[in-house]
């Protein structure tokens, strides 16, 4: 133990940020994903080329986490505003964007993401309304289809980790294996699912997600118990390094309103 005091949310944001390399072209959504991305920029990837799906370039959030991509907290120091076709189309769906961070309400063992709705049981042949309607795919589908790799951030609860999602809002590896190659996507699929408990990565052939790392405060059993499929251990699975003092300081500079610091 490093002796540093940090929350699970902070660990998730730092672990996600570690996936971003310097110089990459990266797209962040609103909320956690943006904090993780700007943490990477503040810590180890000063030349990351960031954008939002609205075509906001050169901006860093000021005065707190933006409440939306159009938020004035990120519109107040941009160098360029263009549009959705530019950001999500020319730069992401084209296959040009190196990495995108997306969220999930529910994810399955092939990294398919559901953010559309919760149904009781399978939907069936008729598309009946969900019991609980969620937000829909938004730009996450476009990132999932087009970015060279995606990182999925999701709170690690059993109900969110399903054998098969009820509705694929954003494609991971679909039915696994090379199923993605049957479609016209320009992107490569999810490289990691980073959770509040650990990091899952796809098996290189089956594309089934396996446990690659646990955090110092979690363990294999806890993670398996909170995963809705029979989670395998990846070759070389290990405990993820704890946040360094530098990492935590960088994250907290970005998360100036402490959105991640509430223990949960």
């Amino acid at each position: 133990m490093s002796g540093l005091d940090y929350t699970r949310q902070e660990m998730m944001a730092i672990a996600t940020g570690r996936e971003i390399r310097d110089g990459e072209l990266a797209i962040f959504g609103v909320g956690l994903s943006m904090l993780a991305g700007f943490f990477a920029q503040a810590h180890h990837a000063p030349n990351v080329r960031t954008m939002t799906e609205g075509g906001v370039y050169g901006a860093t959030p000021v005065g707190g986490l933006p409440w939306g991509i159009e938020c004035n907290r990120i519109s107040s120091n941009a160098t360029s505003f263009t549009n959705a076709i530019d950001a999500l189309g020319f730069l992401v769906a084209s296959g040009r964007c190196d990495v995108g961070i997306i969220g999930a309400a529910e994810v399955d063992k092939f990294g398919n993401v559901n953010t559309t709705g919760i149904w009781e049981g399978p939907i069936g042949p008729t598309f009946r309304p969900p019991k609980t309607r969620l937000t829909g795919a938004g730009g996450a589908n476009d990132i999932a289809c087009g970015a060279k790799r995606t990182i999925i951030m999701v709170s690690h609860e059993r109900k969110r980790f399903s054998e098969k999602v009820a509705y694929i809002s954003s494609p991971g590896y679909l039915e696994g294996g090379d199923a993605r190659s049957r479609h016209g996507f320009n992107g490569g699929g999810p490289a990691a699912i980073v959770t509040t408990l650990g990091i899952l990565r796809p098996h290189p052939e089956t594309r089934e997600f396996e446990l690659a790392s646990w955090f110092s405060f979690s363990n294999i059993e806890e993670i398996k118990a909170n995963t809705g499929w029979d989670l395998k251990l990846a070759a070389g699975a290990h405990e993820a390094p704890e946040p360094t003092a530098d990492e935590l300081a960088a994250l907290r500079r970005v998360d100036e309103t402490g959105a991640l610091r509430k223990k949960g």
Binding site: G54, E70, N72, A84, R133, G136, G139, N141, S169
Partner: protein, 323 residues
């Protein structure tokens, strides 16, 4: 000489809308630059059975759905970003009153692009291979859906990709930061898909936070992304996107965002919201009073205000711009 196009909000809704129409609005992502005052007037004039085309859901669609004015909608995203799920829209979808056809945030502007170009279809490399392609709320028994995003064969390689149906809404009510009386418009902040929407729609009405002299447009022609020749009418309405934001003009009213969404979660709350914030709030002074004059001044002190500075010298005063 070109005609001036300034008309009142009520007149714009009377003249350019009807029950059952395809109505496009929204604008820049869920919580910014939304022409929501047009939606408020749609409710005052009791328009119904609307087919809404919103790139993203906004408080406007949330409100129209809560009030039962929309029966069909097409969206790329249907939440309210960090303000959470859109309770009014959600209630309408879950109850089956509103069929929500899901797309992605790139699919919608590409469909608008295709409508603007009058293409029969638009190539799709996103929104395919997922349930966005296979599930259709407009044809719920067609599974996997064959007509929503069919496949098309690339003649160069023989490979298949998807094909989107282009969009050509009957009307787009588009929020802009600045307009001149002829209908030229400047947008500050991301365009999102307002450029493509303005060309795809059969008719365009601008909802402008402020009016400027045409000399402003001649000084900054590269900023005029919506030219007068495609605009039917201009409605001037300050704080037109409230409680959402307008870069350069005002911040989001976070308190009202939350309260409004909470109200729209129930029938009763929605009725109360309409009574308190829509019925009778028919002119600009009453509207600004309803927001609260102190709140108005507070929201105006945005960290983005400097974006408006180059244009302030051309702002038209209220008495110059009465339609």
């Amino acid at each position: 000489m070109p005609h001036e196009k300034l008309i009142s909000l009520a007149e714009a809704v009377r003249r350019y809308t009807w029950d059952g129409m395809q109505y496009a609005s929204g604008a820049a992502l869920p919580v910014g630059s939304d022409a929501i005052v047009f939606g408020r007037e749609l409710l005052r004039q009791n328009r119904k059975d609307l087919h809404a085309i919103f790139h993203c859901n906004t408080q406007q669609l949330n409100l129209l759905a809560a009030a039962g004015a929309v029966t069909r909608a097409e969206c790329g995203f249907s939440g309210l970003e960090v303000f959470g799920f859109a309770n009014g829209l959600r209630r309408a979808v879950e109850s089956g009153r509103l069929a929500l056809e899901d797309y992605s945030n790139l699919a919608i502007p590409l469909r608008l692009l295709g409508g603007a170009l009058n293409w029969p279809f638009v190539p799709a490399t996103v929104a395919i291979g997922s349930d966005i392609q296979y599930r259709s709320a407009f044809a719920p028994d067609d599974y996997p859906a064959q007509k929503k995003i069919p496949m098309v064969t690339d003649p160069f390689t023989g490979k298949e990709i998807g094909a989107f149906l282009p969009l050509r809404p009957d009307l787009a009510a588009i929020h802009v930061t600045l307009a001149d009386p002829l209908g030229n418009a400047i947008i500050l902040g991301t365009e999102w898909s307002r450029f493509e929407l303005s060309r795809a729609a059969k008719k365009v009405v601008l909802i402008a936070d402020a009016l400027v002299d045409t000399a402003c447009m001649r000084q900054f022609p590269n900023l005029v992304r919506i030219p007068d020749i495609i605009v039917e009418a201009v409605v001037h309405w300050p704080f037109a996107a409230w409680p959402q934001s307008s870069p350069g003009m005002y911040d989001a009213d976070e308190e009202h965002m939350v309260a409004m969404n909470k109200a729209l979660a129930t029938e009763e709350g929605t009725a109360a919201y309409i009574r308190d914030y829509i019925d009778g709030v028919t002119d600009i002074p009453a509207y600004l009073d309803r927001i609260g004059r102190d709140k108005v001044e507070h929201l105006r002190r945005s960290s983005t205000s400097f974006l408006l500075d180059p244009f302030r010298q051309w702002l038209l005063a209220a008495e110059e711009v009465a339609p």
